[in-house]
């Protein structure tokens, strides 16, 4: 239901992060729910990663596998497409969202589809596919419990793992009662029982099952789905036709590599050792099989992803495995919730991915300011994507592209100077503690001038504590940065050479 018409309620209605965040911040329930859930998920993740042991070795392995695959993406994606086709899958390529939508609609029309059952897919959210299907008279039913709830509410997901994080059970009971035509008690078991029964009917009558894709295995042409409810299994088992939409970067080389991803993804997302279901689908049903789809399509979607290739600052975005750990770790997300980010992807990953995919820094510029650059996202990331660095690059590119004011340009130069030296940063903080005396009123800072401008225009910053986080963790930032520089200097150098070459050829910024 994430069409072009803006839904009502707590969903994004404002046009800037500032306005949307104000809506989110005014919603007491949302704030509590987001905080509760993200803390629970974060706690689960920390417990699961500690229990497993050698967590940093696994992260590093995960990162290396993703770096290797993306660095040779033409080879592995081509191999995947050839193998999937050999398995009997109809493979398609879409450069843009519009092309992917057109292909999906053509498949639906050709199969005379009346209804489509969907399991959770961020790509289809990105494409606003439900809206498009409805425009040709095809019912699109979300079957993940949380997604089904927010679809009934006419809203968009606010968390990548728990989409209906912002709804309480009384609101959910009201929505489901309207659907049932009778009053359902606000009891989780009753509500889930109703959804099970209702969606069973939908699964059995649907013409098409539509899924996303967590990983695509190049060497065997298989696609892999992780889930807890069983709805993705229903979608890939019951309907006659299956359509899978996958981002072009979802590739891993082998089932052996899947062990690493299966170790990192569930632990990072929900703290589980493995999701209840992990399914590897290799082609449509075999001739003698009695279930599974007879016709299977995989649509490989670019939609802005390839813009990150060869870009030394943003290529690692393609390593993302969509676990949501950075959302749960982010103090800003925990405070404002997902809808405030305004795009399909929220939290630190959304703050970078949305403008990167859309290639329009100008329109999304304020989203990069919705971060405190504390580095918690990097530490939480199972494949070590330096999101906090990317947020800084994004702000710099915005300024370079002429979307910043004179004052901000000065600020960025100052920022670079300060961030270049941990000692200087500490000094500035100390200065800040003195300087803030001029602007602190009643323990908070409300001024919209100077270095806290971007932050304070949509929230009230607490005054700096006498002993700052920086003072206690003086070397953390430095460790992260130095550590990063040491891990892949060759990759970085090569990419930087490429970008210099390309800039000479094209004479412009990649994201501008």
């Amino acid at each position: 239901m994430s069409g072009t018409t803006q839904p009502v309620g707590s969903t994004a209605a404002g046009t800037t992060v500032k306005e949307r965040a104000e809506l989110a911040l005014n919603d007491e329930f949302l704030r509590k729910a987001v905080k509760f859930t993200t803390e629970r998920l974060r706690g689960g993740k920390l417990k699961a990663s500690e229990e497993h042991g050698n967590w940093d070795d696994w992260r590093e392995r995960g990162r290396q596998i993703r770096l290797h695959t993306i660095a040779h993406l033409d080879y592995y994606l081509n191999l995947f497409a050839d193998n999937a086709r050999a398995n009997g899958v109809h493979v398609h390529f879409a450069h843009t969202a519009a092309e992917a939508v057109k292909l999906s609609l053509a498949i639906a029309e050709r199969n005379d589809a009346k209804s489509v059952v969907k399991s959770k897919s961020m790509v289809t959210e990105e494409l606003h596919l439900n809206h498009a299907l409805e425009s040709i008279g095809v019912e699109a039913v979300e079957t993940d419990l949380g997604e089904y709830i927010i679809q009934l509410a006419g809203e968009t997901p606010s968390h990548i793992i728990i989409p209906a994080i912002h709804k309480n059970r009384y609101q959910i009971a009201a929505l489901l009662s309207a659907e049932a035509g009778e009053t359902l008690a606000p009891d989780t078991t009753v509500l889930a029982g109703f959804v099970r029964k209702k969606l069973r009917e939908k699964f059995l009558e649907a013409d098409i099952g539509m899924t996303g894709c967590n990983f695509a295995i190049a060497e065997t042409g298989s696609m892999v789905l992780f889930e807890n409810e069983g709805n993705a299994r229903m979608v890939t088992t019951v309907p006659k036709t299956q359509i899978t939409l996958m981002g072009m970067e979802r590739i891993i080389p082998s089932w052996s590599d899947l062990e690493v991803m299966a170790t990192l993804l569930p632990r990072s997302a929900t703290g589980q050792k493995l999701t209840v279901y992990m399914s590897g689908i290799t082609g449509p049903r075999r001739a003698a099989d009695a279930d599974g789809p007879e016709e299977m399509h995989i649509i490989i979607v670019d939609n802005g992803r390839s813009n990150q290739l060869g870009d030394p600052e943003f290529q690692e975005l393609l390593n993302c495995i969509r676990c949501g750990a950075c959302l749960n770790a982010c103090p800003v997300y925990r405070h404002i919730g997902g809808h405030a980010y305004g795009g399909t992807y929220s939290g630190p990953i959304g703050a970078v991915l949305t403008p990167a995919l859309q290639k329009n820094v100008a329109e999304w510029d304020d989203i990069a300011n919705a971060s405190s650059l504390c580095g918690a996202c990097y530490e939480a990331c199972p494949v070590k994507i330096p999101l906090h660095d990317m947020l800084v690059y994004l702000r710099r590119r915005k300024v370079e592209a002429g979307h910043g004011s004179k004052l901000e340009s000065l600020g960025m130069k100052g920022f670079a100077t300060v961030m270049g030296s941990a000692g200087r940063f500490g000094g500035v903080l100390k200065l800040g503690k003195l300087g803030q005396k001029l602007v602190v009123r009643g323990g908070v800072i409300r001024t919209k001038l100077g270095p806290l401008k971007g932050w304070n225009t949509y929230r009230v910053a607490p005054s700096l504590p006498k002993q700052s986080f920086r003072d206690t963790w003086a070397t953390l930032e430095e460790e992260i940065r130095v550590g990063l520089r040491e891990t892949a200097p060759d990759v970085k150098q090569r990419l930087e050479a490429v970008i210099r070459e390309r800039k000479q050829k094209e004479g412009g910024s990649l994201h501008g």
């Binding site: 509760f36 992990m278 399914s279």
Partner: protein
């Protein structure tokens, strides 16, 4: 809208395929250009393939595998029983059917299950054996079943997971649609790590893989309503793993 003849549908798919193949070239060329190098057409060396070395040698002795599997499976709401032989499996399932007042059941068409005479042991239950009649609507039979019974291909103790492979005789629906799932795990199929099950899929190669490979780690669950854990949202809400031998 849709063409009715199969021929025209096939023509249409063929047309899509030729468009797809042309686009595939453009896609891959575009990727190589953006990466600033020629196309990579032979397999690159992948020094970081699979799990780290320290992990690959890791294996628990059998009794510990049983203990860890049991702990993990129970911790997510599953049930585990250790049984001496297939005769005990039959008695357990028959007693469970009576206890749960089961009326319909479905089982995979596996020789190990046929050998113990499950159907004869519970004459009051209408038993369907997967895909034994081409005319039957097998998904409907699985959907109406109170109990689904299957022999698993593999299990992994470290994550508390069962693994099942689809085939003519083993439907994906049997482990998915019934209310209660009973999984028989011959003890020699219980491994320590997921990798012991996954790596052989690479070794077997594409053509040897079935359409569906499913790892199942407990009952279907959701925490989507106020973080309140619900069991049995779409898949089976009650799952038994019977460790045999």
């Amino acid at each position: 809208m849709a063409e009715t003849g199969m021929g025209s549908h096939r023509d249409w798919l063929a047309q899509l395929e030729s468009e797809s193949r042309a686009k595939q070239q453009a896609f891959m060329d575009g990727i190589a250009t953006k990466l600033g190098r020629p196309r990579v057409t032979s397999a690159p060396a992948h020094p970081f393939r699979g799990a780290p070395d320290f992990w690959n040698g890791f294996e628990w002795p059998l009794e510990e595998r049983i203990e860890r599997f049991t702990d993990n499976f129970k911790s997510v709401g599953g049930h585990v029983e250790r049984l001496a032989d297939m005769e005990a499996v039959k008695r357990f399932i028959a007693a469970k059917a009576v206890e749960l007042k089961a009326r319909y059941a479905v089982r995979q068409n596996q020789p190990e299950l046929a050998a113990i005479g499950l159907e004869e042991a519970m004459p009051e239950v209408r038993f369907a054996v997967w895909n034994t009649d081409r005319e039957e609507h097998w998904m409907a039979r699985a959907a109406e079943a109170d109990i689904g019974v299957m022999l698993v291909d593999h299990a992994a103790a470290y994550t508390g997971s069962l693994a099942v492979l689809s085939s003519k005789d083993t439907g994906r629906s049997v482990s998915l649609l019934p209310t209660v799932l009973i999984a028989v795990v011959p003890i020699e199929r219980l491994h320590t790590r997921l990798g012991e099950i996954l790596v052989p899929f690479d070794e077997a190669g594409r053509e040897a893989l079935p359409a569906g490979i499913h790892f199942i780690s407990g009952p279907s669950r959701s925490a989507d309503i106020e973080n309140d854990l619900t069991i049995g949202v779409h898949g089976p809400g009650i799952v038994y793993a019977l460790l045999v031998g």
